[in-house]
Subunit: 202 residues, 2 copies
C-alpha cells in the first residue's frame, strides 16, 4: 500500500544526480572495478535506468569526466600576456596543482584509461593537442621537425610518469617537480637539435 516502490525524479535532476555520483565513484575507483550493476545499486536505482540515461559505460564515464576536463582547460589556459616561458611555467604549475588535488583520480585515470580504447584515445587526444600547442609555440610557421615532435611527445609521457612517481612517493615539492619538468623539456628540445628561443631558466 501507500509506500511507492520507487521515487520518480525529474529527468534533469536524475541526470545531474547520476553525473555527480558517477564522478565520485569513477574518481575513487578504477574504471574496470566499477560494474554498472554496482554503480546502480550504489545510487539506489536499477542498472536499466543507468542505461536509460547513458548509452554505454564508456559514454557515462566520459560525461563524468567533462567537469574535470573543463577545469583542466580553464586552469591551464596560458595567459597570452606572459612570455612563452612564463606561460609554460604557470600552465605546468596549474596542472601539477590539479594533479596534487586529485591524486587518486589522476592515478586511476592514467592507469585505467589506456585499457579502455575510447578513454585511451581521449587521453591521446589531450596529449596530441598539448604537443601541438607546445610545438606551435616553437615553430609558429610550418611543421615541426620530426625530432622535436618526438621529443615533445616523449616529454608528455615523462610528465605522466613523473607525476605518478611523485604521487606515489610524495617526497619532492611541487615547485621542484615543475622545475624538473621544465628543465627536462628544455633539455629534450636541445637534444633534439631544436634550440628553444626562450631565456634560460634560473
Amino acid at each position: 500500500m501507500g509506500a511507492p516502490a520507487y521515487r520518480r525524479l525529474d529527468v534533469d535532476e536524475r541526470r545531474r544526480q547520476l553525473l555527480e555520483r558517477g564522478a565520485e565513484l569513477f574518481t575513487s575507483h578504477p574504471y574496470e572495478e566499477l560494474s554498472m550493476n554496482r554503480i546502480a545499486r550504489e545510487v539506489g536505482i536499477s542498472k536499466a535506468l543507468l542505461y536509460h540515461y547513458f548509452p554505454s559505460k564508456q559514454a557515462y564515464f566520459e560525461e563524468t569526466l567533462n567537469a574535470w576536463a573543463e577545469q583542466l582547460r580553464e586552469r591551464t589556459e596560458p595567459d597570452p600576456g606572459l612570455s612563452p616561458l612564463e606561460q609554460l611555467t604557470s600552465s605546468l604549475d596549474a596542472f601539477l596543482a590539479l594533479v596534487e588535488e586529485n591524486a587518486v583520480a589522476y592515478r586511476n585515470l592514467i592507469r585505467s584509461a589506456a585499457g579502455v580504447a575510447e578513454i585511451r584515445e581521449l587521453i591521446e587526444e589531450v596529449r596530441r593537442k598539448t604537443a601541438a600547442r607546445i610545438l606551435d609555440g616553437l615553430y609558429p610557421e610550418g611543421e615541426a621537425p620530426p625530432k622535436a615532435r618526438t621529443a615533445v611527445s616523449g616529454w608528455l609521457w615523462f610528465m605522466d610518469g613523473a607525476c605518478l612517481n611523485w604521487i606515489e612517493h610524495r617526497d619532492i615539492e611541487r615547485g621542484e617537480l615543475r622545475d624538473l619538468l621544465l628543465g627536462v623539456l628544455m633539455g629534450s628540445l636541445l637534444a633534439a637539435g631544436a634550440a628553444p628561443d626562450l631565456p634560460p631558466a634560473g
Copy 2:
C-alpha cells in the same frame, strides 16, 4: 566412420604448439580483444583444453611473452667491459632494434598493458628494475635522491612515448632516436641536480 573426433597430441608437443600460436596471436592483437574461446577456436581445440595447459589467460599471456622477454634480457644485457656510457648506448640501441623488429607487438603490449592490471604490473616491474639498474649505476652506494629517481622514472615513460611516436611516424633513424633518448636522460639527470659522472656524449 573411423574418423576420430579429435587428434590426441603429446603433451609437450601440444604445449609447444599453444605457446607458438599464442605468441603469434597475442603479438598481433591487443590482449583484451582476444578471448580464450576465440584463441581455442583459432587453434582448433576447445577452450577447456587451453585451461588444461595454462591456469589462466593472464598466465598464458605471460608464458607467451617469455621468449620475447628472454630476448630482451639477452640483447640488452650490458657488456661489463664497456664504459657506463657505452653500456647504456648499446643497451638502448639493442632495445630500439627489438622494438623496431616487433613494432606491432610492442604497440599492442604498451597499449593493453595499462588496462590489464596484471600486465601493467609486469611492465611496471620491468620499469622498476630498469630504473634501479640505472640509478644503481649512478649511486652505487646508498639510496638515490628523490629527484633523480623521479627523473629516471619519468625518462622510462619518455622512452615508451617516444618509441610509440617513432613507430607511428617512422620518420627518424634509430640512431637519432637513440641519441635523443641518451641526451634526454643526461639532461633529465642534470635538471634533477644529479650530475652523471659520465663523459659528455659526442
